[in-house]
């Protein structure tokens, strides 16, 4: 496409391209962002199981420290997921648009849909972290 043609249609080529690129950069980033909540869950899971193994099987860490540390890590993971979830909720923007499902594929809908997906993933990740952390509150020993 030449600059002449674009001028004929009244649409300058370069700013349009920049805008699209900027938008796709934003989408790329939010596509990455929806993985953050499940990643936090996964890291919390590995941290919990790994630490408990070191404490209970190898006896490397004293049990009270293990428990307190992992309860703190659970709180931290939940706070992080809440933050990620809140950002995703804002991106979804359902309160303003009233549009739950974003069925059309244009840019704004894609943007909001990724927010929606990120928000739901944050919820399931929070549930996962709570279930993983539950034994820390109920069981006081390795047995």
């Amino acid at each position: 496409m030449t600059a002449e043609n674009d001028t004929e249609h009244g649409q300058p080529a370069e700013p349009e391209k920049d805008r699209e690129l900027a938008e796709f950069a934003e989408e790329r980033e939010s596509l990455l962002r929806i993985t953050f909540a499940p990643l936090t869950w996964a890291l919390h899971f590995v941290l919990c199981y790994g630490t408990v193994s070191l404490a209970c099987i190898k006896g490397l860490i004293p049990l009270p420290y293990t428990r307190a540390g992992l309860i703190a890590a659970t709180g931290l993971a939940l706070a992080l997921i809440a933050l990620i979830g809140w950002r995703a909720f804002v991106q979804w923007d359902v309160r303003r648009t009233g549009d739950f499902t974003n069925p059309e594929g244009h840019a704004e809908h894609r943007h909001q849909f990724l927010g929606h997906a990120g928000f739901l993933l944050a919820i399931i990740s929070a549930i996962g972290v709570i279930y993983t952390g539950l034994p820390l509150f109920i069981l006081a020993s390795c047995k």
């Binding site: 739950f100 549930i127 279930y131 539950l134 109920i138 069981l139 020993s141 047995k143």
Partner: protein, 334 residues
């Protein structure tokens, strides 16, 4: 539409078709049933199972009821808000809370598996495919050795230390409590508190090779006084029955002593089960056969047929009389 085949049957025939259901009910009872608990631990597990079963039935009925309702009865469109609340409430919130509650309950009863016992500790080692059993009464320096049978005092909590020789086994007496895996090179613990005296059946619950299905044992729950008397007798050496000298000679001539121990005799083998009081046990070959003379003779003669891949060779070259004499000797070791 032709009537369903069931409608063509006469009433008695229809009743007959319900017979298999009775079989299902019958399976709930018996000496190897987790649904017929004879101890504190099994009762807790039964409650857990019952609650989950009833919950699952209610959920199943609700799910299918809704499916039926929305596809057959209430077929007009429902509002988006109603649909969303059903999906979010019934599909996300309810399962999260229910599973969370079950998880919390499960975790809260988990440590009970390893409650401290009242004194007696039993160490069980899983072999292929039998059980090496050591009784350690409180304060004992040496164990009382036995095999392929577990005896427990009723009303007392007994601790088990479990391990294995070569492969993973799992120790399970369904009527008395949950199961626990046995790992080579590692010790796991389990504690059981049987309440009702009786003879129950345990079974290896982890596939462990050719004769896994034949790796069982009898679990005898006795009143505490009787148990103490039995343990004292079990600790003593063998007292062969009179007139079984011929069988004893065959036992030593055939080299059985290389693998089996009979305390109080020259037989000190450690490869196979201890036979010091084999005649007083409730089963033979780790739950494989009963303990009649004929069954003793059959086990010695058809070992490989009865327990595939077992290390003991079949002594089928023995004559009829020799088998009978050997069986009489073993049966007499009470």
């Amino acid at each position: 539409m032709p009537p369903a085949p069931c409608h063509r049957l006469s009433p008695p025939a229809r009743a007959l078709r319900a017979l298999p259901l009775l079989l299902i009910c019958a399976a709930c009872e018996g000496r190897q049933s987790a649904l017929d608990p004879a101890g504190e631990d099994a009762a807790v597990l039964l409650t857990l199972f019952t609650v989950m079963l009833i919950g699952a039935v209610i959920l199943w009925l609700a799910m299918n009821g809704m499916f039926y309702g929305f596809t057959r009865v209430h077929r007009s469109q429902i509002s988006k808000t109603t649909a969303n609340s059903i999906v979010i409430g019934g599909g996300i919130l309810l399962p999260t809370l229910l599973i969370g509650a079950l998880l919390g309950w499960g975790l809260s009863i988990l440590p009970d598996h390893q409650k401290p016992g009242d004194g007696l500790r039993i160490r069980v080692i899983g072999e292929q495919w039998w059980w090496r059993v050591e009784y350690w009464p409180e304060g004992a320096d040496t164990p009382v050795i036995s095999a392929n049978e577990i005896r427990l005092p009723a009303g007392q909590r007994t601790e088990f230390t479990l391990t294995s020789d070569r492969v993973i086994h799992s120790f399970w007496i369904p009527a008395l409590g949950g199961k626990m895996d046995m790992f080579p090179g590692r010790e796991t613990t389990l504690s059981l508190k049987p309440e009702k005296p009786g003879v129950y059946r345990g079974q290896c619950a982890e596939l462990c090779g050719a004769s896994h299905a034949w790796m069982a044992f009898e679990a005898v729950v006795m009143p505490p006084g009787e148990f103490d008397a039995w343990l004292e007798q079990e600790a003593a050496g063998a007292q062969p029955a009179e007139g079984t000298e011929e069988g004893r000679d065959i036992f030593f001539r055939e080299g059985c002593a290389a693998c089996h121990t009979i305390r109080g005799t020259q037989a000190q083998g450690q490869v196979g089960p201890d036979l010091t009081h084999v005649g007083s046990r409730h089963s033979l070959g780790a739950g494989r056969l009963g303990v009649t003379m004929e069954e003793f003779a059959a086990f010695v003669t058809h070992t490989e047929d009865l327990k595939p891949e077992v290390r003991m060779p079949a002594y089928d070259h023995l004559s009829e009389d020799e088998r009978a004499a050997l069986a009489a000797y073993l049966k007499g070791l009470e």
